[in-house]
Amino acid sequence: MRKPKGKHDFSWKQAAGVTMMLALLFFALLPIIWSFILALRPENRLFEPIWESPTALTLGNIRNLAGTGFPHALFNSFVTATVSTILAVIIGVPGGFALAKGRSSRKFVASWALLLLRMAPPVGFVIPLFILYLNVGLLDTWVGLIGAYMVLTLPLVVWSSWTSLSQIPDELIEAALLDGATMAQALRRVVIPAARPGLVATAVLAFLLTWNDFFFALVITRSDTVTAPVAIMNFVSYASVDWGSIAIASILLTLPTVPVIVFANKYIVQSMGGAVKG
């Protein structure tokens, strides 16, 4: 061992490390703090530096936002993200389970296809979907948008439930079946509880993917089913940009995702790590 250092010895290297971390922390926090300031600034003080009138704050922007179409767009976002996540989980998790536990020689093909689908640029999916929807009248409908979101969520759910379910020992499932449980019971009572963290993370990631989506919704929705990320753009026009509403809308859009990720991020890492490691 090197000679122990006193607790208060000053080290330039340590100071450099702390400075770097503080700079990065500032970088991470600036946009967040700034969006709260924007959200609370009255319109006539928007272009004044915050330190010149730090107390000129208002809740008026929130009231304005309530009167726009944005709350309805949030509702649309919530419905489409929830439904497409549930569908993808119901269809995808059994598939992931079968891939994790079944004996098939085509697993390599499956993993390769899933990887490819997850890597493929969304514009490639959106162009044919748009033409199809245009012809069958699915543009600007919930069914159309949810169908399009299956493109995003299904490969993700199959892939990452495959990863997390392969950690369940075969013996556990066989023991349950030998005890007379049916496959459905074994799944419900044994497999799913044992793999719950991973499966929850999978569902959370699928929800985030659709909740945060901008591109699919921009192309497929028009007015009735516009989701919140697209609706925010209504506050931007050539004449003026309504920064207060934009900031509040952005915060509202982000809020539902924050607690989830903070509490679940350990499992999210595992499931993303699975996604990266394969």
């Binding site: 061992m1 290297k13 490390g17 770097m20 971390m21 990065l24 922390l25 970088f27 991470a28 946009p31 967040i32 700034w34 969006s35 924007l38 272009f47 530096p49 915050i50 269809i91 995808g92 059994p94 598939g95 079968a98 079944g102 390769w112 689908l117 890597m119 493929a120 640029p121 969304p122 514009v123 490639g124 999916f125 162009i127 044919p128 033409i131 299956m150 493109v151 299904l154 490969p155 199959v158 066989e174 079946l177 030998l178 496959m183 945060n212 901008f214 192309v219 990320p229 931007v236 934009i246 952005s250 982000t254 995702t257 990720i261 903070v262 991020n265 890492v269 790590g273 490691k277 394969g278």
Partner: protein
């Protein structure tokens, strides 16, 4: 044991039944649209002129001669290369900082994760406000000292750096989380052995930690690279492809050709190009993966 063998055929049958819906759904929802993309790319469909279903290669011939397309590839590569370098550097610095330099700050991890979940439209809008000189607190702050911060979004490389900065902000947590996981997988015995042998902390980092992180770093970088190819909201909101066409990356160019110029088949052929590009990189990822898990 023989009882277990007895369960197997039943098991395998139910696995196949469970797999069926997923396979069907993936085929319908994901594979079919991709086939549609190829069909469109090899025919000529125009929202105004209609559809000529005859097989043609003219979209791809046109691509080789399209200056805007070639330029868009360079824009895409600049955004991806600079973005990935910045994200991997920032994410790794924070991971190493939290794990090795100032472990007492580990509680900050939760804060550093937040940008990761902010929807990209919101990311784009907040950075747009930070890059709007009349509004931005950064400009106001430097004005106090008489320094005029240039308006990034009005110049070519400025706009590219603006998107890179916003993307770095949104994506460094992804790198950080995965590198943190990788760091925790590295045994601390090695660190200790090296410091007993008299290596300084910095030497330990460069000679031991970093080489051990290399596979993880490479994977994260490739993964992010594929994601940056798909940039859309940041470009759409912050620059709209501008100034001029300075930030029209290939993905964005496909969108413009299809949905603004109504040239659906031409847009689809650009998408096919992107698809093959992404597939090539994923293939590389998969191969490297196999090598890492074999090791």
């Amino acid at each position: 044991m023989s009882q277990v063998m007895g369960v197997q055929p039943v098991l395998q049958r139910s696995y196949r039944m469970m797999l069926m819906p997923a396979v069907l759904a993936v085929l319908i929802f994901a594979v079919l649209p991709l086939l549609g993309m190829f069909v469109l790319a090899f025919t000529s469909f125009d929202l105004v002129k209609g559809w000529d279903t005859g097989f043609t290669l003219k979209n791809f011939v046109k691509l080789t001669d399209d200056k805007r397309f070639i330029a868009s590839i360079w824009v895409m590569l600049s955004l991806s290369v600079f973005g990935v370098i910045a994200q991997v550097a920032a994410g790794t610095a924070i991971a190493v900082g939290l794990e090795k330099i100032i472990p007492r700050w580990r509680f900050l991890r939760g804060i550093f994760v937040v940008p990761f979940v902010v929807p990209h439209v919101a990311v784009a809008l907040v950075w747009l406000s930070l890059f709007t000189p009349t509004l931005s607190p950064i400009n106001a702050f430097f004005d106090l000292f008489g320094i005029t911060v240039p308006a990034l979004l009005t110049t070519r490389w400025g706009a590219i750096s603006a998107i890179v900065i916003a993307d770095t902000w949104a994506s460094f947590p992804f790198v950080m989380l995965l590198i943190l996981a990788a760091l925790q997988g590295i045994s601390s015995d090695l660190d200790e052995a090296a410091s007993i042998d008299g290596a300084s902390k910095i030497q330990v980092f460069w000679r031991i930690t970093l080489p051990l992180l290399k596979p993880a770093l490479l994977m994260v970088a490739l993964f992010r690279f594929i994601e940056t190819i798909k940039h859309f909201p940041l470009i759409y909101v912050m620059t709209n492809g501008g100034p001029g066409r300075a930030t029209q990356a290939t993905n964005y160019y496909a969108f413009i050709q299809t949905f603004q110029n109504s040239k659906v088949s031409y847009g689809a052929s650009i998408a096919v190009f992107l698809f093959i590009f992404a597939a090539a990189i994923s293939f590389w990822v998969a191969r490297m993966n196999a090598r890492i898990s074999d090791a």
